[in-house]
């Protein structure tokens, strides 16, 4: 595998924001997720649950509810009182309309996605119509006391059920009249406490399902206004609820972090009498489960512990494969760390600030696995705070360490960092050319002479960096056929000749930087690109896709390399293909051109192209067994994938020089301690 001196970096104090709500597209292709910091993320289920798009949050814009409207339009509403439509190709807010009822707690779209209903702080329910280019206010429902916390449409779109404090109401959509009001109360020892209906759903049979703050899931007959069934699920609140499309299964999420499944099961074989039965409990979260979604094959839950959990229902999954495994996503599927190799600096991107650190160093050497003492501690050099409520889209530090750039939704900043002995001065570069913002990805060239800015509509701007402290717009690359989506990944060759850019349509364009023209397009592959890099020696473009496939494309020859074809013919190892998280970074070792260094959240891999590929019968993670084998036997067992799982969860890995690596990990326990305390539960035996 090769020996490296590894900088094990644990000072990246990233705390992902909790999951606030989830919206599942009806055709099942995408899941929209809103975090408590207002960020909206889109997961593409077809592309192995890849986190395809991220719309960074905004302090002024919280998101309480998300829903998909007609034509795959995504709407969000929050306590700011506005309904926002997101532009998914430009990854920013398209436009927003004031709801006019104070903070909006909930929003629901009807079955066709043409109407949106919002529930407001003042107890009103307002109907909006989704029209091309925006939404239009349509009607007010009867106003009731108390804030509306949850809403649900009847599948026929004729009724809306709304839950508020101590009551649920059913409204007729066409007349706006209250059809039924049901008091949901709870008496315990003659003390009446407020019962908060956290979540509601209307089944096509007319049954209204509610979950409330007393841990109950209740089934109501809304026409009679009577309680049909009540299941006490938890001692704490049941916060979220979701019904499957067939209406035979319900998932609820509680504030203890447990989720429970309810199933409509026949009481006896062959009889028509069916009953809701609580079946499986799942405990994947440690904190409140604020949002759940019941897809056709899986239970999806998101909690305040920032985890998105996809738990497949085994009985619905036809074959054992990628879909049948439990998925947990905590960290974003993109890089938040940037490394200045020459200067040995790390730039960490937080939602509203950047941190620049200098790596520690040691003068000792040791054996394999030994922890070396540091002679110089890692040093926090600079913290750059972005002004305004907007969150940072992307950031980058140049390889020489003297340039730092970042972009928010409306602003782009370029700084020059100067090191004079122990003092550091940060100077903002004046007169940055006006560009179409936001920038989605930033990349400095290897010689730190130019900056590439990924922008909307597939364009890439090239800025030339001038000493001392200036810059100049050189060129803008446009994809030859045009592209509506923004570029989200960039790769530049070491010799400064080539630039590869991936847009939201997953087409990879290669541009020639010497003559500023489009060189070629990599044949399209129907999956999202998760990482790409250009080999410094051979100028081969290595591409990792979200279905865990790896391709190598020779830029000079404009075709896939022989090795890549061989990989495609023989296929990758089954275990490799069933891995959990996408490859987020690719780098190379200049000393050993046949090596490709890759990493995802849970492993670091050195791919040795000179060795044979493993077949499915071989052990993929064989490093530990290899160690025990004698030298001669080892030769037989060697294969191309050399995997190290020592560093978890791995946010970033890069090669500093020929024999030193930097690994940035964020132990789960470290950030769990920074989360608010979960609900105290008595555990037996503790």
């Amino acid at each position: 595998m090769g020996e490296f001196e590894v900088h094990r970096v644990r000072f990246f104090g990233l705390v992902p924001a909790g999951v606030r709500c989830l919206a599942y597209q009806r055709n099942g292709a995408r899941l929209a997720l809103a975090r408590t910091d207002g960020a909206v993320e889109i997961y593409n289920f077809a592309a192995n649950y890849f986190q395809e798009k991220v719309i960074p949050g905004n302090e002024a814009r919280s998101v309480e509810a998300l829903c998909w409207g007609a034509g795959d339009r995504l709407f969000g509403a929050g306590l700011g009182g506005e309904i926002t439509e997101y532009d998914l190709s430009r990854l920013c807010v398209a436009h927003s309309v004031d709801g006019g009822g104070g903070p909006i707690w909930t929003m629901a779209a009807n079955s066709s996605g043409t109407q949106l209903a919002i529930g407001c702080e003042d107890g009103s329910i307002k109907l909006f119509e989704v029209v091309p280019g925006g939404i239009q206010f349509e009607r007010n429902m009867d106003r009731r006391q108390g804030r509306i916390l949850c809403l649900s449409w009847h599948p026929s779109d004729t009724y809306i059920a709304a839950g508020s404090i101590d009551a649920i109401h059913v409204f007729n959509v066409s007349s706006g009249q209250t059809v039924q009001g049901i008091m949901v109360s709870y008496h315990m020892q003659k003390v009446k406490r407020k019962c908060i209906v956290w979540s509601i759903a209307v089944l096509s049979s007319g049954t209204v399902v509610t979950s409330d703050s007393f841990g109950r899931v209740q089934f109501w007959d809304w026409e009679q206004g009577t309680l049909q069934e009540s299941h006490t699920v938890s001692t704490s609140a049941v916060l979220s609820l979701s019904v499957s499309e067939k209406e035979d299964s319900i998932i609820v999420g509680t504030s203890t972090g447990a989720t429970y499944q309810f199933q409509l099961l026949p009481v006896k074989t062959g009889s028509l009498e069916k009953r809701w039965v609580r079946t499986k409990p799942f405990q994947h979260h440690t904190h409140d489960v604020r949002a759940v979604v019941h897809s056709s094959t899986a239970l999806i839950s998101g909690g305040l512990d920032a985890q998105l959990v996809i738990r497949p229902l085994m009985e619905k999954v036809q074959k054992k494969g990628y879909d049948a495994a439990l998925r947990k996503f905590t960290f974003p599927h993109r890089r938040l760390v940037c490394c200045a190799r020459k200067a040995r600096l790390l730039l960490f991107q937080f939602s509203q600030h950047l941190e620049l650190w200098r790596l520690g160093s040691t003068d000792k050497t040791g054996k394999d696995g030994e922890v070396l003492p540091l002679c110089r501690m890692p040093e926090h050099l600079v913290q750059l705070k972005s002004k305004g409520p907007e969150h940072i889209y992307c950031s980058c530090v140049s390889p020489c360490g003297s340039w730092v750039a970042y972009s928010t939704a409306s602003r782009f900043h370029l700084y020059q960092v100067q090191y004079k002995g122990n003092s550091i001065s940060v100077k903002k570069v004046p007169k940055v050319p006006k560009l179409v913002l936001p920038a989605y990805q930033l990349q400095f060239s290897a010689d730190s002479g130019s900056l590439f800015i990924a922008s909307a509509q597939g364009s890439v701007h090239v800025l030339q960096l001038l000493e001392p402290g200036g810059c100049k717009h050189l060129h803008t690359f446009w994809p030859p056929s045009g592209c509506p989506e923004a570029v989200y990944l960039l790769a530049v060759s070491a010799d400064g000749h080539w630039l590869a850019a991936v847009g939201g349509d997953w087409a990879i364009h290669v541009y020639n930087l010497k003559c500023f023209k489009h060189h070629c397009t990599v044949p399209t592959y129907n999956c999202a690109v998760t990482a790409l890099a250009i080999h410094p020696v051979t100028n081969n473009l290595v591409i990792a896709y979200s279905d865990q496939q790896l391709f190598e494309f020779s830029i000079p020859e404009k075709q896939y390399t022989a090795w890549s074809r061989m990989v495609q013919n023989s296929g990758l190892h089954k275990v490799w293909l069933e891995r959990d998280s996408p490859i987020t970074h690719i780098t190379f070792n200049p000393k050993n051109p046949s090596h490709i260094l890759l990493h995802d959240m849970y492993m670091f891999c050195i791919l040795d192209k000179s060795l044979p590929l493993p077949d499915n019968s071989a052990l993929l993670m064989n490093q530990s067994t290899l160690k025990q084998l004698p030298e001669t036997a080892r030769q037989w067992q060697l294969h191309a994938f050399k995997i190290c799982k020592k560093f978890q969860p791995l946010l970033f890995a890069d090669l500093l020089d020929e024999n030193s690596l930097v690994m940035v990990e964020r132990p789960i326990m470290d950030f769990k301690t920074q989360l608010p305390l979960p609900i105290q539960q008595k555990k037996f035996g503790t």
């Binding site: 006490t232 699920v233 199933q263 026949p266 009481v267 006896k268 074989t269 079946t279 009985e315």
Partner: protein, 802 residues
Amino acid sequence: LLCASGDFVKMYSVATEETLRVMGGHADLVTGIQLNPHNHMQLYSSSLDGTIKLWDFMDGIPIKTFTVGSKLLALYALPSSEDSVFVVIPKSGERDTFQLVSVKLTKAAGQDLEAKELSVVLDGVNASPKYIAFGREGEYVASVKEVDLQVYFFKQKQLNRFCVSAVKTKSGNNQFTCIACHPTEDCIATGHADGKIRIWRNFYHKKEYTYSTLHWHHDTVMDVAFSVEGTSLLSGGVESVLVLWHNESDCQKDFLPRLGSPIEYISMASDGTLCCTLHTDNRITIINSNLRFARSIQGLIKSANVKTGLVVDPRTKALVLNGEPGHLQFYCLQSDQQLFSLDIVQRQYIHQAGLNQADLVKVAFSAQGKWLATVEEREDVTDPELQLKLWFYDEEIQSFKLNTSINMPHEDQITDMCFRDMDELEDDSLILVTTGRDCMFKVWVMVEDADPDAQHIVSWSCDFIGSYHNYQPTNCCFSEDGSVLAVSFEETVTVWDSVTWDLKCTFCHPPGKIRKICFGRLTCSKYLIGASDDGFLCCWNLLSCALEWSAYLNVVVLQPDPLSEHIAAVSWLSKESSLFVFKPNEPRPIYIQRNLCREKIQLAAFVPRDEPETIGSEKYLWLRRSQLFFLTDTQELMTLSTKSLQERLTPASKQLAVEESLPVTPFSLLLGKHRRQQSQEDIDFGKLFVHNKCEQDSPAIKELLHTPAHVLPSASFLCPIFINSLLISKENKSAEEVADEVEMESEKTEDDSDEERDVTEMEQEDTSPQELLGETTCKLSKSQEKELRKIRKIDYSWISAF
């Protein structure tokens, strides 16, 4: 309430806890009882002897007997199947595999029928009845084994198999331990070894089955049962807490804690008003529908380890021994009931493995039963706890009251304890002696309490501490008049004056350490008997301070009869126990019973009879005034009965063999031990007796040659023994004559059969109400007549042969 116990099926009254009827007839352990679903006055029972019997349990009459052939391990009856029942039988040809078969019960007339029509329903089931349950209206049967659940649908003839992951997690393994089916819905509840209960539904789909989990128990769920309507579920385990789950919800549950001991089985009454739990300590608890303890049917509590020994309470004549952990149970032999349970340790018992908890180790009563001394200890390497408690019998509350509690009476464990039995002396001369491993024995006396505010007028304090050469004392014993105390120190027996506490004399019998000592009674009170580790029984004369006689016998139990001069010794030789009864003044045993039982006998006690029995046989004269009881390793209580037809020795309380069922619940269970039938005909016995004598000879010589010279009795004493031992033929003859005599006598006693019936019963069963005696007598006497005839035939043949 019906319950299988050993070879019998017992019927109890739910209202009065009384045993109403005992139905016997099976030749082997009863393994399953089940009400006839078509006639609620009838009962099926199955037994290891391969028969199914149909009983009219109100009258206790067997209606039919079906012979199946193979061992029957469990029995199920269904309302939907008219003429067949289901039994679990071992699979032929394979060991430890069992199958569930349905047996067609022919409707032909007659009492004894063959039932050979078997059809296999399920293969590979568990033998215990807890592992199979029949579902709603008998539509399916579910069986669990290890980690597999099998469900077989009778109509569709479809077998579904589910398994839980066999991975042993840190929370324990999830093997199935019990199963119950919902009475009206398609729902199965299973209990697991890790304490979880899984509720299975939708199990007619091979793939889309689903289950939910209820978890409260921290250890194995021993049994689950649905209520009659199926709205709630009951479960129990070693926590001895009955858990009632409402609506299969994890959040709504009720508990009935402190049921005393682990719950083994749960059964519901068909009307849903009562539920009963069976506990591992031989007890049935009846519980109301609102989860209130109603009453319990209590036999002899089986405790983990009877450390106290069998002690007889002089006041109630009850047998006193360890009961529940930390409790002392008073067990009435006549009624097979627990009189009461005295909480000695007075601490909450925590059911958790590996926890050292204080337990009762020694008990002693004063002669009148006025004082009770108990020792409790907690074994702990770092800080052992030891407490000596003295209890005073309070006439007002009719119970013992704690008088004095002494912390750490000895530095180390207490090995023995005794009161000075002086009937005629005053109360304040009562003396208690304790011996401890700290090489001391201490004498405790009552002192008047100086403090007027004190609760008790008297309290106990230490009076004298004695030791001998820093040896560990093992036993202590007072002579009958209380003047002399004998304390055994390893290999030496020391005799002390109980007034001045002077060492009077010592007896030594190397190389063996002294295991038991006791004084003779009445006319033999000058003798001190000691049993040693290396297998010698010695008798010393206190007046001459010399060894009177010794015998080679590996004695494990030495028990003097308080009302006569007899001493019973139980020996343990080559996997069988033998009983010897002798008088200290003569070295020849007056009664020998070989092969008493296969298990090692741990303890024995003489219980005084209320009135002396008239015993014809000379051989059993020693049982005239008191009865001898034994407790074996497996905690079976046995007794020796005298006037039985066949001189039968019957094991008494079946500790393990208990099965329960409510009158109308199709649910029966069993765990049990085979009752040993040790009936010996007189002829056999006589021969055996002779044979025993022959065997006895060589030890006598061996003993003579092995005993160290300085402890040997005088040669004049040894000579007759030696000579006697050589006179084999003479002895033989006389023994045969004795046997003949016994024979004649037993024939005579056969005539009054009514009385015998009572006596020959095991004392646990002999509580059959008197008013029913008349009914049963005619039947019994018939069978007895048969036996009588048989015996006469044998007798004559034997005599003619002679």
